[in-house]
Symmetry: C4
Subunit: 245 residues, 4 copies
């Protein structure tokens, strides 16, 4: 990448996170996109529309204004989902990255309009509650500013509750698929990976339930797992190695 390119570190992180979409088996063709934000500069960096992962370079990423959605830098059109990302960044000031995929099992829950239920610790490690499903967009919401409105139905679902958005860092857009977010572009991508994994596990678990009874997992177990990894008492993990530069 040219040294003079602006937002170099952010571009590198967003590029790496986008390339993990196909690596993690979340992508068909060019579907899926990750963005990362620079709040001080008032911009976010996002994948261009319809470019294959194999061809993607940091220069191809598009820099977009948080304020009005205009392209600040870039020779390509940004992802068609750009306005959804922008809406989420504006509603949730604590997030640093957003990921959208059409991963198979998360899409199946979105299409069936079923939240992904909390069935075990794998889910609770990342999502402190079910991954919810939005309302269908109305004809009016589809006719105009469709992509921004896609963000709005997610925000409505969380009632603008930033804490809830932090504890459940993702949602399923009805009949469409998952959007996830996180403190960074990388974190949003990893939440997309977890969302797909727990969707697949939930699909199989539901198939295995004995008819009649499947009590919820005990709340104390789920809390334990979420707080092992998140918040002031977290004790999971080690300091990351020196960041990608």
């Amino acid at each position: 990448m040219s040294e003079s390119l602006s937002f170099g570190d952010l571009r590198r992180e967003v590029l790496a996170a986008n390339l993990r979409i196909p690596e993690a088996g979340l992508a068909t063709l060019t579907w899926g996109n990750v963005s990362g934000v620079d709040r001080d500069a008032g911009v976010f960096v996002i994948k261009p529309s319809g470019v294959s992962y194999a061809d993607l370079s940091a220069e191809d990423l598009v820099v977009v204004s948080l304020e009005d959605g205009r392209v600040v830098e870039g020779h390509l059109k940004p992802s068609t989902d750009t306005e959804t990302h922008r809406c989420l960044y504006r509603a949730f000031p604590h997030i640093g990255g957003v990921t959208h995929t059409h991963s198979t099992h998360a899409v199946a829950f979105a299409q069936a309009r079923r939240p992904i239920p909390v069935l075990g610790t794998t889910h609770a490690d990342t999502f402190n509650g079910p991954v919810p499903v939005t309302e269908d967009l109305t004809a009016e919401q589809c006719a105009r500013d469709y992509e921004y409105n896609t963000g709005q139905v997610i925000v409505a679902l969380l009632e603008g509750d930033a804490r809830r958005a932090e504890e459940v860092p993702g949602a399923l857009v009805s009949r469409h698929g998952p959007f996830t977010w996180g403190a960074t572009a990388t974190a949003s991508l990893e939440n997309a990976i977890v969302c797909e994994a727990v969707a697949e596990m939930a699909l199989h678990t539901l198939a295995l339930y004995a008819p009649g009874g499947h009590p919820e997992p005990p709340r104390h177990l789920l809390d334990r797992h979420f707080t092992r990894k998140h918040g002031p008492d977290a004790y999971y993990g080690n300091p990351a190695p020196a960041a990608v530069r």
Copy 2:
């Protein structure tokens, strides 16, 4: 490839599209084939019968007459499905490529004789309606010109409606599997990839539906997605990089 080989560009595109069949996980053994047409020359280029993808080269591809199905160029027999491709090229003058696979989930719908329903935007991005299933071929249709008749039951399904064939670029042959088409060989292959992806998503979605109720997705949502990518108001994607030469 020898410089003097005819239809060099088309051969290269058809070869590349064929090699994407196993890459995309759509193939078992040598199953599956892609062709591309040169309408001016009145021929199409297709995979030879029963050759493994690892061994396939542009020279092995077979050039076949659109008019009568005879081999115009090639040292190998063309795919046994060649006459099905020829039938589709003749019925739908707007198409430039055809793909046939035995991809797992699309075959399951074909075997169950269920159209792949439109359950969300992933489907609507590519197929503006369910992927339909043909009638069973009759004993007469099987006894003689079986492969050409396989094309005929597809054409019958679409009632020769070229616009419908353009908006729903694929069909499931009953008890057999998917045929997809597109403006180019590459486009037909990508439609085969989408067909398999939406079949898998649909299988899981149907398993997740609550008994009793699964209303259709709202039409305005599906239309929005199809027209984002197709037709005069499309705004998805970027210009392709310089074509393979």
Copy 3:
């Protein structure tokens, strides 16, 4: 491989076929084995027991007597399934190779004691009828010569009908898994790949069937597909490239 090693060509083919088991996703750990026979020499060559595919070489393969099952050549113990292979070679004089795997979906049918039904052309291209399931072995059959008796329940199933064994080149051993065979080691391995593929397709097809009705595919369609590839009127495929030497 040392030039002086006996049965060099057969060893090379059997090695290559064994290595395709993990490549084709049919293996967990060291499970699965392929053998090939030399009828003139009265021996077959088979994978050693419990050796990982990554470590396997042609020298490790074991040469076993068709007559009495004794090791003719080799520094390792042959597969524990060797006696099953030997039983099949003795019962079906037309076969040249045998493959056994624990591939996921074929095992599921074996465990459920359901034959893999003929639901479409993918199946009919290779198996001219359902892939049948054997009887459970009796306590006596388990107590003594267990592995040879495993072959015997397969032979019993086909009633020693060599033609049926040729047209349906495989069977599921009850609660165990698939054995397939063919004219060569390679053919038996490819039949194992098809067996797994059609088992997976069948599993999904059965899940998609509307309750109440799923008529059989028409016999004329299935016949057409089997005879396209097998017997005097076959027209599928091209001559193989020069054999591996």
Copy 4:
């Protein structure tokens, strides 16, 4: 690895076993961990917490005291699951390795609180009985020493019966996932691979059962398979090649 590093052979084995978790498709992100014990030295070696497999080296592994769980050697925090491993080593003196994963199908059984039933020989080759599910941990067990208590519910399940732990080398922690063990770190990892494979096969088998009837596999068949591979009359396998050095 530095020559002077202590427990070098054990570290190398534990590292190799950990790297097989993602290779075998058992891992999402950094989930999963393998440990191996040195009983004479009174320590075990385990994966550090939250480190990605791609970055893992033998130096990163953590040496932990069997006696009190303190880190004896290492610059990183050990896996959060370390105390569960320690509990198992203390309860079952015959085991040399422990593996924990969140593999998809084993987790589905754990989440549905269903033991993985013995449906065929693939299961019986490794597990001489169903893979059982623990009780849910109580609020008290979650509040304090959660991870050690996770080991305790496994031990309770096996009633401290060392022989049973040897014949069924794994268990599902309710709503959580599988823990497996074995004579070595490698063996525990291979048991985790088998646990996932048989869980997937069981899921599909249960879907294929005809309503009403699915008699158990005959005991003599299952015994035959378990004793082919385990105990004094085992005849499966060959001596391992020279150990990794």
